[in-house]
């Protein structure tokens, strides 16, 4: 029986070697997808918003606003020289918004009318551009404390003579230089207020404590590649189901299936001989994509090679198990071409293989993709050990053997 399985496996690998175009899909496409997705969404996991910035103000506060916005990690700026150009480009949809600091901003901030920062938004993306407003407000708030204190002190000194029943001439006559005193006191009050504001920031009345999870091992936050690499490896591995269905269907119509079953071979060795080669190819594909990702994207393979290896084997077997089940059930060339692809895309979509943040709760756990991807995340990004992926291994092997069992039951060779 083992010799028959080995003979079938070798034959399948020889036949599969003919599908050179398919191997490009299997081995190269996942890497290309990972690279494209990584470049599109960045590798920090936090997406950035690209906008324009125009600074027509020549004062100190305008420059400080620009610097504060530059420090904001979620905004990516392109500086433009004029509001007119920013308005035109946003109108064309080149960016979702532009932040404009108008001329005289620094002076205006110190008047009662106050300063004004303008945000030009693309009407088609007005709601999304609201993110920019929040970030501009957050970035400019600390700077405006400085201006607000200075404006308040000036107002106080301008109105103080009236309030206490003496005039500016009285003060001058008493030898008091009002502008100098104003300047001195403003600096002193600013210092005290700033100190208190900073103190309030450092020691708020309502304190929010952030504590690391009790048993968590020290590690870095998962990057986007930690999701993309296992996600797309698993996604593309399941495309092998289509190739399996095609080869079984070809055996059916060419007569080789009937011929093989006129020989002393049973259903189990025959189906295992179909399952194993494609499971091995799936394992090889995952290994190659992981290896390439380590070289190209600095992908972290974790610290548990045994766990990683077992997870790759279990994932490969689940590809083979589901593939052989689909191969047994399809009855026409059209079905062989369409059903595996449809199944692959559906499982990938609900499991979060395509977009890490999009899953169908409940449904996702019915897919091998979910268990494989979560297992790879545990071992790689989260540096888990074998015990951390035992549920994943169990689920993947249950899917593989369950599907194979149904395939043996439903298989008809004549």
């Amino acid at each position: 029986m083992f010799r028959q399985i080995w003979a079938m496996t070798r034959k399948e690998i020889k036949l599969a070697a003919e599908y050179r175009g398919q191997w490009l899909l299997v081995f190269l496409t996942p890497i290309i997808f990972i690279a494209v997705m990584g470049a599109t969404f960045g590798n920090t996991g936090a997406p950035t918003v690209a906008i324009y910035l125009v600074n027509e103000d020549e004062g100190r506060l305008g420059r400080q606003v620009v610097n504060a916005l530059r420090d904001e990690p979620t905004l990516a700026f392109e500086m433009l020289p004029s509001r007119v150009e920013a308005d035109r480009l946003v109108g064309e949809g080149q960016r979702m918004a532009a932040v404009v600091i108008p001329a005289g901003f620094s002076q205006a901030v110190l008047t009662d009318a106050g300063g004004r920062v303008e945000v030009i938004v693309d009407p088609a993306r007005e709601q999304t551009a609201g993110i920019v407003l929040g970030q501009v407000q957050a970035a400019t708030a600390p700077l405006l404390i400085d201006a607000e204190v200075e404006r308040g002190v000036r107002n106080a000194f301008n109105t103080a003579p009236d309030a206490f029943g003496f005039t500016a001439a009285d003060l001058q006559e008493a030898g008091i230089d009002l502008p100098a005193v104003t300047k001195f006191l403003a600096a002193a009050i600013k210092g005290v207020v700033s100190s208190q504001v900073q103190d309030a920031i450092d020691n708020p009345l309502v304190r929010i404590d952030v504590q690391p999870a009790t048993d968590a091992a020290p590690r870095q936050a998962p990057t986007l590649f930690d999701y993309l690499v296992p996600g797309y490896s698993v996604f593309f591995a399941f495309f092998l189901m289509g190739l399996m269905a095609e080869t079984v269907f070809q055996e059916r119509i060419s007569g080789t299936l009937r011929r093989v079953f006129s020989l002393p071979i049973g259903r189990i060795p025959f189906l295992l001989g179909k399952l194993l080669p494609y499971s091995l190819i799936a394992m090889l594909q995952i290994v190659l994509v992981f290896a390439a990702s380590t070289l190209l994207f600095d992908y972290d393979l974790g610290e548990a090679p045994l766990a990683l290896g077992l997870l790759i084997v279990a994932t490969g077997l689940s590809v083979g198990g589901l593939g052989i089940l689909v191969s047994v059930l399809v009855r026409s060339e059209g079905q062989a071409n369409s059903i595996p692809a449809l199944l692959t895309l559906t499982m990938a979509a609900v499991s979060g293989a395509l977009f890490p943040s999009i899953q169908a709760p409940g449904l996702s756990q019915l897919t091998p993709h979910y268990w494989a991807i979560q297992g790879f995340l545990n071992v790689t990004a989260l540096h888990g050990d074998l015990s951390s992926i035992l549920p994943n291994l169990s689920a993947l092997l249950a899917i593989a053997f369950g599907a194979f069992g149904v395939a043996v039951w439903r298989f008809k060779h004549a």
Partner: protein, 336 residues
Amino acid sequence: MPGYILEANHLVKQYGALTAVNDVSFAVEEGEIFGLLGPNGAGKSTAIAILSGLFPPTSGGAAIGGLDVVHNLAKVKQIIGVVPQDLALYPTLSGRENVRFFGELYGLRGKGLQTRVDEVLGYVGMQERANDRVQTYSGGMKRRINLAAGLVNHPRLLFLDEPTVGVDPQSRNHIFESVARLNREQGMSILYTTHYMEEAERLCHRVGIIDRGKLIALDTPRRLIAALGGGIIQLGLATMDEAARAAIEALPAVRSATFATESTMKSAASRPAEVVMPVQANSKAVLKIEASHNNDALLQVLHYCNEADVEILSLDLLEPNLETVFLNLTGKSLRD
């Protein structure tokens, strides 16, 4: 008393309302080439599929080498070889790789496998091209590799299902010679299905004629032909004249005379026989005459028609062979 390598008893295979094999019984002697002759769709391939264990019969049973094909299937499969009608090969593998693969499934390995693969490739004359991909072969060469793959386990009983369909004359002769040599030199028993009566006559020791799932005759080709007598004369007449029929049947060289259906007449006319006169479009009746001797019967029938003023619209003279036997038994041609 020869032993039987194969015994089929009342085999029936039904697919819903269709009875593909209908109460078929026959036996193949050790060292015999047994032919199953019948048109396409007669049930030959279904019979082979049952006997080779591809699926069980609806009823009835069969034994090969004394082993029941249902209950001892694994052992039965070790002693049979099957050469299917389809070119059941992997086209992107070489001929050698194909034969080797089937040998491995039989459990052969190592030097024994290598030697056997070389032997069978030599047997079918394919050693020179054995390492080329099957998809580069001609139809005849594919048929020869198809045969080699069925021989790799050195079977005691070989099922050959229409092995010469679509092959060139050179490959057909090669296959004939291979089959005859296997039987002659190795004593291999062979069950050979075909719808070519020349093949059955040339190769088979005995022939079973099968039509619509039923075995309708079984004997040596010589006896089957002899039973027919001298041959068949088909006479196209203007009217279905019962008096003329009776008079012709009474002629000394005539064994029987019956009016045939129009479809029978067309079948006969479509085959390349010794047509003396073309079939007339306005023929009203066809009188099928079984002759004990064709020449004498022909002279007597023509003389009678001349004397009795019976108008002859067409005349076919069919030589005695298995085709004629089949026509006589079923009223239709093997190629229908």
